[in-house]
Symmetry: D2
Subunit: 375 residues, 4 copies
């Protein structure tokens, strides 16, 4: 029987980040991961920190994304000093490509919105885009250039969070299956697992889609939508480019080892982690359309993962239902890597008893329903 301040269920980038920020505050933390740390969606992402890319209007998600993006430069140094792991933060900007006049119009509108909020976002016509990135197709309309959006290595970020948390005293347990929560009135007393019982002052659910199953035991329904994403990596021969290229249905991220990640399909409701032949067909077709010389690039490998989403597109970050000491952090969809630092920090603040107004819009209670109405 272990006695801990906080038990975190789920060792993806979100669970590991929460462990890290709690351990920095001195909490005794345990993370229980069913498989390996970061072995699913966390390490399969492309790592785009697209705070502006995802910004299609004012709102709390945009604010949170911008705040989290701003944490990365210091975080990268901090994690490197602690763990020796370089998370490969590349601050080369993103070009959000328009193929049609309609897309161009929409992106110019977005650019104006972003500038009005103090961000940099410039519309570039085809010639300007191609003067900087000659590899881009001459069929594009133009691009919204977002210099402050960046990217990291998701696998390294997750590993660095988990190493750093462990170095600061967190107990990091892989291959541990949580079987149930022990409830006592409005409190979670502990967590049952195939490695025994863990008693805890606070419990955090950061288990992606699996969070649903645990929530069911509490008699509530928390809707999490699985969104499968398939990606591939290629090695450019003739065509090289420096900035991330983001277009409808296809993005290209040039990483620090010279590879380009081509992402990603979005298949709702599919829990499988294999790569379909059709995904390969679609992604290679779109990549070659966007950067024609990629036809001659070397294909390296392909992978798939399932990202948790939510019906309203917002993550769940906050206190769960009417339980005093139960927290949720999941369903970040495409923004899990980007939002991992702020999610970790805010959940740590919340557990420490602080007011955290900027995550109130993400309370899981907004969509929580009585489970008896399901089925």
């Amino acid at each position: 029987m272990h006695e801990r301040d906080v038990v975190i269920i789920g060792g993806g980038v979100i669970g590991c980040s929460i462990a890290y920020y709690l351990a920095k505050r001195g909490a005794r933390v345990t993370v229980l991961e069913r498989d390996l740390f970061g072995s699913h969606a966390s390490s399969a992402a492309a790592g785009i920190l697209g705070a502006q890319l995802e910004m299609d209007g004012p709102g709390p998600l945009s604010e949170l994304c911008l705040k989290s993006r701003s944490m990365f430069p210091d975080l990268a140094s901090e994690l490197y000093r602690l763990t020796g792991i370089d998370i490969e933060l590349i601050r080369a900007g993103i070009m959000h490509i328009a193929w049609t006049p309609e897309e161009a119009e929409m992106l110019r509108h977005r650019g104006a919105l972003q500038r009005s909020r103090g961000e940099v976002a410039d519309w570039w016509d085809r010639d300007r885009v191609r003067s900087l990135e000659p590899a881009v197709s001459d069929q594009i309309e133009g691009a919204l250039y977002i210099p402050r959006d960046s990217h990291v290595s998701p696998a390294r970020l997750t590993r660095a969070f988990s190493f750093a948390a462990e170095l600061l005293g967190a107990e990091m347990i892989e291959r541990c299956e949580v079987t149930s929560l022990r409830i006592e009135k409005d409190r979670v007393e502990g967590v049952e697992s195939d490695r025994g019982t863990f008693r805890a002052e606070h419990v955090v659910l950061a288990a992606g889609a699996w969070t649903v199953t645990l929530a069911k035991q509490l008699g509530v329904h928390l809707p999490v939508v699985p969104m499968k994403g398939e990606s591939l990596a290629v090695f450019p021969r003739r065509a090289r480019f420096e900035r991330t290229l983001f277009a409808e249905g296809c993005y290209l991220v040039p990483k620090a080892d010279g590879k380009v990640i081509v992402g990603a399909t979005e298949r709702g409701g599919d829990f499988t982690e294999w790569v379909t032949t059709d995904a390969i067909r679609c992604l290679t077709s779109k990549a070659v359309r966007l950067v024609p010389d990629l036809a001659e690039s070397t294909f390296i490998r392909a992978w798939a993962s399932v990202r948790p989403s939510s019906p309203d597109g917002l993550p769940y970050v906050g206190r769960m239902g009417h339980y005093r000491n139960l927290f949720v952090a999941t369903s970040h969809f495409r923004n899990g890597i980007l939002l991992s630092p702020i999610t970790g920090q805010r959940i740590a603040d919340l557990i420490a008893g602080e007011e955290v107004p900027d995550i109130e819009p993400f309370s899981p209670n907004r969509l929580l329903s009585d489970d008896s109405s399901q089925q």
Copy 2:
């Protein structure tokens, strides 16, 4: 200084087969392979034994292919007894698919030709094809069904030849670079390599495209055309089929471990062994067109290799130029696996001094020219 009966330069499926048939006759044989046995085209092939598939008219190549195909059943048993390696001979037949009435007409004509020579080859219309293989597209015109064509595992065949040769006393040397041939009048005295000099009674060049370079040292030009082929393997989910499906630009081979091999591009003059993104795009598109449910198959991996070809499409098998003891066996293009047993056996016969009339049409001398006319 080694003294051998025969030194074979090249340890692909052809070189290893020659070594095997020579060792069976009791010859003291050495094989010198620059990389690993079967590490290039030999293990990257799909292993189709398409003796009739390649038969578009009467001629010596068709005869040789049919003879070699007939050797496989006994060879499979023989190699298994000697080495414990199962070469996975699958005798399920091939369906040569027609997409258009023109292709159908051409295949019906071929079928008639093959039947007139005693082979089995039946034209099946779309419905009959789909009654046996329901996974095939309903857009096809029909197929020529060739029940006697079969397939093996190329990697295992090469390994089995090399193990069996070694067990029968052959000296099998990997990572050995041949640097030159020692010529004395009309005889090759020996072979120089980075592991020393090998003296031999007879020398066989079975080094694919590299054969050209060695031939140059003899002052002759033997034209070998590199034909790069890219392939991939998928794992069917819904769609399963038993017979090899062969269509314009795409074939699908169901192997004994449940995987399907999708092959192959043909890029002349390309020596590279990487897989291009465009090849992936083409092969996945064609595979999904031929068997629509393969869209949902699991993508496993892709690979590339360079197959040696010749200007007239025939392999080179026979005595080289005016040298008494120098032999060539290369440029089998798509038929290297199929022709490996008979090539091995016939070269062994030739070295033993026998008459081998059926390989006379493949004499390298037919295309050999004085090297001084090159450049």
Copy 3:
């Protein structure tokens, strides 16, 4: 809401075999697999069918192992005809090696026991062993030679069972997480999962160690002990041998593709599926001791898996507790591949209402206890 005759929880070799034998009888079967079919212990095994190897005295487990071993030759043909998958049954026998006079004495005793029950098992001294397998160390004492024990490819066997079941109408679902059983008095009404509810006439638990967690929900404790095993594959250079070599702490299985599998560590209580550096150190040391020329073999890869075991060393196969329609098949430890055919067949018989006396000793009820006594 699906209505099925039988729902099987777990898609390893055991669950897939049960599905196959049920589907052959015409039952409407669904298999729910949390990950991929055969993705854990089933495909990581070496595939030894060591019915006599495990026989250290008379008893029901030995009987069951012998019966199951005898099913393989027909099963191999049957599965090949149905699926095109060759399970690579290699009937070359096993040499159980003794390093010391004490081990020799013990093995001679075992041989006598086996012969008294009609099996073939001959003691061979060092010279006789080495005359047949010259690669074996000259430091051994001798070996018990068991010609009838054989081996298969575990990955192919599992795949063939799952394909064959599906072809016969079974519904095979991967990436499906079972969350609870619906109990109504002494009956299981159905199975809840993240893909919805499955109602069934009968339910089979074949989920390895995870079976424990499901049993807990029924208020009973079924002890399953995880036994991690680490293995590696090498490719012999000089040293080749035909028979499986089995010694204390290390076995060597020559497979049909020319590789040798070196197995296996046994670490009780370890759920992780990574390979430790220490396992690599131990296995390579022991393999080189047993066949010295393996020092020069090529290292290919290493892997780990967790096999479910039980406190008394017997599998659980039979009806579960006092539930009328709930069955268990798990904890086969080292004999999962060997026992898969008979386990599948007997569970199918039991569900069909037949008497199956030979599995009575394996009833899970023998070790089942009230869960309230746990913790």
Copy 4:
């Protein structure tokens, strides 16, 4: 027929570095690589920049190593700006471990020597070593701590050199086999290859052991000794350390992605690139001895490569024989990564007609002999 200023034969880290420094000077350069850039020793190294580690006395090699080490910080920035590739320069220092009093005495002596030449090198006793790196065995005697030695990613360095050279106009050709040199009196007129003839003002041989074969064609013998090295990568669980640990027969390099490289065997005269089971056994044993908790680390993979060496242990860098326009750069053995920048720069200087006194001791002419005396 191509007309180039310089043709470089060999696209390892040395050839690519030379191409980079020449292209920076504006030269029209072509690199001909038989396989892929950096596909052999260059990418299989651990990337230690051990200028002091290799310093066992005063001498020109030590000087060259120190100068080259000092080039890396600026080079890393320069290559990153040009190519977006981060070569992962980690400046955490090396601990050269002593297991015995004799080794300790030798290392203290070396430390004194290095300090006398202005370098930092401190003897630390066991307790001090373990206070900074608690993972190190308590059986060591102590360590010479060398803070300025560092490491990079060899694969990334080679790729960055080759990308950067290409961006600056170099022609980079893979899968191109050089067959002979065209000699005209004391000049090399050009290079014959399977892709045609390349005429050049200057030719550089940077082809590792293959250099020997080309030299032979010039009638000279340049002795290059192949030294096979086998390495593996593990992922630490409990044991983490920041500094490179270097001991007799085993070094441990913690890389920027959290992995540890364990290197390396040294097998003279072995050209093969496979990993032997015995190498795995030796390296895992030594790694676990040095850092006992590595027993529980996760084994990731193993690899092998062949490094070119020379009889006197010095690389060959300079003008070749009596040819006016032929240069050699090879046989850097363990220091290929470390010496790549200065080798590239100095060869570029030499070709530009400058005086380069610091490479005079490395002239290939020191060991060149008339080839007729060989064999």
